[in-house]
Subunit: 449 residues, 2 copies
Amino acid sequence: MTTNHRVKIMETVLRDGHQSLAATRMRISDMLPMLEQLDEIGFHALEAWGGATFDSCLRFLDEDPWERLRTLKKHLKKTPIQMLLRGQNVLGYNHYADDVVTEFVNRAVDNGVGIIRIFDALNDVRNLEVAMRAAKKAGAHVQGAFVYTISPYHNQESFLKVAKDLVELGADSICIKDMSGLLAPYTAYELVKTLKADIAVPIQLHTHYTSGMASMTYLKAIEAGVDIIDCALSPFALGTSQPATEAIVAALEGTERDTGIKKEQLYPIADHFRSVKKSLAQDFNLNTAIDIDTKVLSFQIPGGMLSNLLNQMKEQGMADKYPDLLEEMPRVRAELGYPPLVTPTSQITGSMAAFNVMLGRYKVIPREIKDLVRGKYGRTPAPIDPEFRKMIVGDEPVITHRPADDIAPQMDFLRQELAEKGYPNASTEDVLSYAVFPDVALNFFSKHR
Amino acid sequence: MTTNHRVKIMETVLRDGHQSLAATRMRISDMLPMLEQLDEIGFHALEAWGGATFDSCLRFLDEDPWERLRTLKKHLKKTPIQMLLRGQNVLGYNHYADDVVTEFVNRAVDNGVGIIRIFDALNDVRNLEVAMRAAKKAGAHVQGAFVYTISPYHNQESFLKVAKDLVELGADSICIKDMSGLLAPYTAYELVKTLKADIAVPIQLHTHYTSGMASMTYLKAIEAGVDIIDCALSPFALGTSQPATEAIVAALEGTERDTGIKKEQLYPIADHFRSVKKSLAQDFNLNTAIDIDTKVLSFQIPGGMLSNLLNQMKEQGMADKYPDLLEEMPRVRAELGYPPLVTPTSQITGSMAAFNVMLGRYKVIPREIKDLVRGKYGRTPAPIDPEFRKMIVGDEPVITHRPADDIAPQMDFLRQELAEKGYPNASTEDVLSYAVFPDVALNFFSKHR
Ligand SMILES: [Co+2]
Ligand SMILES: [Co+2]
């Protein structure tokens, strides 16, 4: 071991843990009994907001996400609340106007968020600028995250460059965000070493257990000097979630990089969340026991999505073309400029490959593919071949500037729209809920406003 | 990494994997469709016999365990079949006569076992002598295993000494057997280094995911030069089973200690066993989704057993004494000479501690405690205080010799007993089934002989 300082842990049980294993269905009432105890552990932060929780609150749990945030903040007096933000997409999959992004960040920080992790699915840092600037101004700790992926255009140097760009933009820390567990232990060691050598701010690693390597990956990242790792308490760990907090704490006990956390303090909290998991599984009819599936390493697409695609092909009587699909996917991904395969690019690429195999290559082209190819989501990691682009979008204009430059301010317009729908005194928070999830927000307002 | 050779994998899906996660209920029909494919992978061995499988075959699956072994051998032409043997206990928890042990080993090897892992719950090597000698003579690869545990009387030196004794007895390889996942990664590194420095035969590591550290433990053991590790294909991995084969293979891919196994070849096999797990869960009404529980590190007793004890105390209206129980357990273990807490010593120690807390210390003393204290199972790791022994067993004779020296040959007697029960022409295999599990064997014979 090369560094002599404590590993810090960011606990994800209140966000990514249940988003990964329980369809984001954890309710504030499930959290409340343990917030004070969680606050006492000495976690670097508690991830508890953003990601899919906002949508889930409004859509499934009949909770106001802003109210949840204020409640969390009231009980978490020592430990910063961390949120996950998709850059210019805020919490969705489309780009929003700058004023929506800025206002969203402002209200999040004002209501209790202390650390904002900001990323872009294509690692186009221009899509992070506005959110990072707003977060900085609002006084939050701004974490710039880049998505880890594997392709001929991604390597230690390309990731280092993105990280440097993020620091340039004001990042207080850098996060390696590995959403499908692609990062192998010894690769993690090299990547963390590379970043630590050139980046002065703390380096955090976020991974998922999907392929089964995640805790080994953390161990090697720790040996390489990573500062912070994301873990979930055991009932909401493993499977497609993070490595287990208790296990990492125990593994480092008494070593140079001891977390300083007492594992015994975690047991009663884990016991509580074990029964929460059981009740979520019952109340929402969920399968919370998700096996790891190393297939993700071969196709960069989780096994569950592969079997969905296979089922679609079966329905069309084309199951025999499944091997072709497995060959077509990397080909499509290369043509699309090697986007990291995360939501929604994984679905977009998978569907495109399935269409290609079933109907002929690019006979049918979904809107999302056209948008991706003409730059509407930002710069792809690899340049797109001009002839390929021409085939996909014809003469549609290509976007080389920051995509959100084309979007006029929306806040005033949204506020007015809400007034016309019967909510003339909507709070800024409500306008933002309406901005990002209009239909579910209106449905929620109809019951609660 | 310090050694430049392939890590070998012993695959446990056919034995410890389903023994750990599916109550040992996997049937030969669940295995048959994949045996040829498993045989092609290049595993060091396939653990497929012994442990609890023998009892389960007869008791629950209406299968003759010897017949299963012959069927396995017919389909596994390249990869050795490995079995687990509890030394002088064979497959149970009592000592058997030397002729039973010897004959059991003979028949196991004759029917297809290639590697026999032999251990004793107290690490008293005298309890391994007869089985090891028989296995050696029968031409099997003899693996001497010692149980890993944590106590003031267990350390690198004490384990090295047991390992050396086992090599002296003819062990072709040594196994560190960590039944509850107590071995932490950096401790594993030191232990493997210590053994590799002084032991010429290959070192194998067997651990369980129970505490959540197991794959990290393997990684550090691999860096220290361990030769073979035990893994289970992902559907029967993690939880209280072994780390996942695919994940370990993937983590080492392209490194100096690459396993040489192609992970893509494992996917269809894992898919098959994923559906086997589902059908076992349905057919036998099992919960196959077992969370890790790091509590095992604090109490050396898995969390499930702790909650059983808590429930017993609740039934007696003494739930408030549970914290006393947690303090009493290590005290009892110390008094008993620090036995490794594995089946059955974990149950014995746990019950004794519960009795002590509920009824007063040693007011009621189960037979098993008296036997353990007077040496009937063998030498305890730490000497037992003479006054304590006197309190427990009074003037009962103390056993300092090899316990099985007191047991007269049993085979002829058992064969005659079987004849009297209506099976005069019982095969030696049937006599052995009757020797180790008399009632279930008779019940099985009544239907099939
Ligand atoms: Co995540
Ligand atoms: Co085992």
